[in-house]
Symmetry: D2
Subunit: 134 residues, 4 copies
Amino acid sequence: MKELFAFGQSILENQPFSVLLGTALDEFEPGKATLKLAVQDKLKQQHGFVHGGVVSYLADNALTYAGGSVLGDSVTSEYKINYLRPAIGELLVAQASVISSGKSQAVCQCQVLAVQDGEERMVAFAQGTIRKVV
Amino acid sequence: MKELFAFGQSILENQPFSVLLGTALDEFEPGKATLKLAVQDKLKQQHGFVHGGVVSYLADNALTYAGGSVLGDSVTSEYKINYLRPAIGELLVAQASVISSGKSQAVCQCQVLAVQDGEERMVAFAQGTIRKVV
Amino acid sequence: MKELFAFGQSILENQPFSVLLGTALDEFEPGKATLKLAVQDKLKQQHGFVHGGVVSYLADNALTYAGGSVLGDSVTSEYKINYLRPAIGELLVAQASVISSGKSQAVCQCQVLAVQDGEERMVAFAQGTIRKVV
Amino acid sequence: MKELFAFGQSILENQPFSVLLGTALDEFEPGKATLKLAVQDKLKQQHGFVHGGVVSYLADNALTYAGGSVLGDSVTSEYKINYLRPAIGELLVAQASVISSGKSQAVCQCQVLAVQDGEERMVAFAQGTIRKVV
């Protein structure tokens, strides 16, 4: 388990875009993954909310991690995301899990929470297909 | 038309996240919008491709612009994206257009191209719902 | 609660297409809905599995019921579905629930199970937006 | 070309569900497919519109045909659909085309039109992944 987590962290550290945003791996075990992202002003849009693109990025990455936890080296093939409310707060948390998996692909879901003053609100929900890299 | 374009540019300039990434508005007229993004190392993932989150962000933003071109101030309500191949090259171009629109929402589509050595390849395709902000 | 269920049943009875297929309402309470469909040969495709269109129909309808349970009279605005494995068995069960809801729309999810010889297998998973009819 | 069309027709004739609904293949060539469906009362919902499940079924099937035209024997892996307006009229037409394809899968899109008194209106738009059966 520790090995899986360390492996997950090393991937994140090797993604310049994830380093730029400041993404951290919080949980990574067979069937699920949690990513966290501290909100900074540079991640916002014109109304002061976290940019939807950041929320999507985090959901997409968490989906890939969840799928990768059962498939090994993987990429997101496709996903859909519903934005539920503006992302406001100090922290984003993306919790992804595997719905169903086979040999070469997994279907996963992810909820993205925004934490403001200690209170969590769901700001987005995503579902997607993760494909094993062969 | 010039006014619409200037308005579109001002929104982009007021999105700190778009400034961070370096997104530029290339085309913005009723029913369609094109965004461009010069590829930099900081936008990549561990294999040297542009991070999927960047591709998604650009598609999402272009969808909102296309919808906003007919609805006025708008947000993306939901979208789905299929990644078609690794995003490699110097430039990403997201071209979005309106499929159908009503008073309060528009359904739009977007193709994302990667330009490498002058050659364009489609790297992603998205479809989503844009909702007028009331 | 009984009233809600009776209302749900009356809608189903007034959908000629649902009558044609033989759909039954099994559970209908605030935030969730379950539809059941006995598998008949006429619902199959060329390999003897239940046609994907039937699985989609059932998921779509269950999503609308789940959304409608909190919104009132509603329609599906959009949804995405992942087919997970061939739908084989005597019975399909679509269980939908509300992920998040506001005044005018709800985002819902639905799993479709196929029951064969008493054993349940998830055959599809869907996520969509339900909109209140005004 | 005639062979491809005949092959496509034979598949449709071997889908009991498509026979039940009355689906006809109208166009089938490399990269695109068109399905038609005459509207009957049995295909409607409680407000007299064609049931969304029928629209979805037709889009899903047309997507599979479009993908299958370049991949061979195929199934829909996933798709998303946006309903644009109530489906009213005498005829539904689903026109699908390939956006991008590889060896094992194709991403396709489909518009569904309703024809009423000779006038076509787009009632739904879909995007999905078609996977070659191996």
